[in-house]
Each structure stands twice: as C-alpha cells, then as structure tokens.
C-alpha cells in the first residue's frame, strides 16, 4: 500500500515535470497555442485572434462581393494549401496538440484520483462523527 502510494507520487512528479519541460520548450518555440481553445471566434462575426488570422484578414478586405471565388481566409487551414509537407513548424503544432491532450488526460486522471481520495476521507470523517464517542461517554 505504502509502496503503491510512493510509486503513484513518483509517477505524478515525473509526468508533471515532463509536461512542464515540454510545455516550456513548446512555448519558447512559439507554437504552444492554448488560448485558441478559448478564443473561439464568433460564428457570424468571424472575430478571433492568432489561429484565425486569415479569417480576420478576409474580413478587413471586405466580403460584400459575392463574385469572389472560394473564400480565402481560413487561418489554420490557409497554410495547408500553400505549404503542405512535413515542415518543422507544423510538426511543432502537432506536438502542441499532443501536449494539450496529455495535460487534459493528466488533469482528469490525477484530478479524479484526488477527488476520490477526498471523498473517502470525507466519508470517513462523517462516519467518525456519527459513531458514538468513547471520550464523550459518561463514566459510571
């Protein structure tokens, strides 16, 4: 039991350290694009930042003409047409996605374990509170 706890703690430390180091490295390379998840552009307004730069550019150019061919502003999709292939920056983007996935999994796994631990402790405390106290008993 004790060794299992120690093992879990060691694994957690290794995982957090690996994620922190890789996150620092990806961030310094400028490819860790976490805010994109939260910077959701308005569906009709097309507002957004970073990943959706292409869309913004298209917006500023004016979109009133319907004779335009396929819309060009696609942000992350834009590069697909221009520079497809296994380039380093795109590989870092994939790693950034993988990093984000790893962080989510870690939070869920260890968050869940922590939550169940807290629940067990709470239940134990509650049970102890309901149990008849030996100290509170009147001595005959």
């Amino acid at each position: 039991m004790r060794s299992t706890k120690r093992r879990t703690a060691i694994v957690l430390v290794i995982v957090v350290a690996a994620l922190a180091l890789s996150g620092y490295w990806l961030n310094s390379s400028g490819r860790l694009d976490i805010p994109r998840v939260f910077a959701v552009p308005g569906i009709t307004s097309g507002s957004g930042e970073g990943a959706f730069a292409g869309e913004n550019r298209q917006h500023s150019q004016g979109t009133s003409t319907t004779s335009q061919a396929a819309p060009s502003g696609r942000g992350r999709h834009e590069g697909g047409r221009e520079g497809a292939g296994l380039n380093g920056t795109a590989a870092l983007d994939v790693l950034s996605n993988l990093w984000f996935l790893a962080v989510t999994i870690t939070v869920v796994v260890y968050g869940g374990r922590g939550l169940s631990f807290v629940m067990v402790q709470m239940r134990r405390l509650l049970r102890a509170g309901h149990a008849p106290s030996v100290l509170g008993k009147k001595q005959p």
Binding site: T44, G46, T104
Partner: protein, 174 residues
C-alpha cells in the same frame, strides 16, 4: 483449407483507439498533412469512430436501456461525455465536408459565400472543443488503456544478479 482467424476484440479496440487519437491530433493540423490528406484523413477518422462505437455497441445499448434506472453515476457521466464527443465529431466532420475542396460540396450544393464562412468558422473551433472532450474521454478510460497496453506490450525483463530475489518475493518472505 481455411485458416481460422482469431479476432481479439480488446487488442483491436486498443489499436484502433491509439490510431484514432494519433490520426486526430495529426489531422488537426492541415499545414502538417496538406489539404488533401487532411480531408481524407478526416473522413477516415469518421469511419474509424463509427467502428469504435460499433465495437462498444453492447455497452451503448445496455447503458441506453438503463440510463433512467439504477445505474452508477460514473457510467452515466461516461455516457453523457461520449454523447458530447459523438456530437462534436459529427459537427467537425459535417463542417469539414461542407467546406471540402476535394469534394467540392459548396459548389455542388450551391452553398452561399456567407454560409461557407459560417461553416469555416465552425470547422475552426469545433475540433478544439472535440480535443478537450477527447482528452477527458481518454482520461476517464485511462485505467483500461494503461492496463491493456501493459498486457499486450512485450514484457521487459530486468536481469538481476544471480542470487538476488525480486522485491515482491522479499516482501513475501517478511
């Protein structure tokens, strides 16, 4: 002479899940794959996701039947999350099909420029939402993934010096 093919469902599920996750993370970056591969990979992902659901169909049916009856809270959360994942995947693939340049859906269906822009916008944020749900889904099933991977990975045997017992046996002696 027909050779019997043994179908290991658990192993198939594990391999499919790993492939699905890897393909999804890669498909999220069209600059990495190129537009054509991105589109075909996306369609293949849709097919693989359906196979994933079919492989777990028994569980889906059981939980659907008992959802409003006596059921563990964890299973209920799993089910709702899986529904959200299915919905987000559907949105991702549908919006992808709508703006596909290889399939030329917009031209075929006569989708207006404004509508196309809306589909593009949806296709930009839906995969990000799906990635978060995929992460939670994998996290909730992590025990199964870790245990199954451990079961099928070739075991690495650590050579011990002659006469030294493994730690489990040392504990057993206590």
């Amino acid at each position: 002479m027909l050779k019997t093919i043994h179908f290991n469902k658990t192993k198939t599920k594990l391999c499919l899940d790993i492939a699905l996750t890897a393909a999804y993370v890669i498909a999220m970056e069209p600059r990495f794959t190129g537009e054509t591969w991105h589109e075909w990979l996306g369609l293949a992902l849709g097919g693989a996701a359906i196979i994933h659901v079919l492989l777990n169909w028994k569980w889906v049916l059981n939980v659907t039947r008992r959802f409003f009856h006596k059921l563990q809270q964890q299973v209920r959360i799993d089910y709702l999350l899986d529904l959200a994942l299915f919905a987000s995947f559907t949105v991702v693939i549908l919006s992808g099909i709508m703006i596909s340049e290889n399939l030329r859906t917009a031209e075929t269906l006569g989708i207006s420029f404004e509508a196309q822009r809306t589909w593009r916008s949806i296709h930009a944020w839906a995969p990000q939402v799906a990635l978060v749900i995929v992460g939670i889904h994998l996290g909730l099933h992590w025990k199964w993934i870790a245990d199954t991977t451990r079961r099928y990975l070739p075991r690495i045997r650590i050579r011990r010096p002659v006469g030294q017992l493994p730690s489990s046996e040392l504990h057993a002696q206590d």
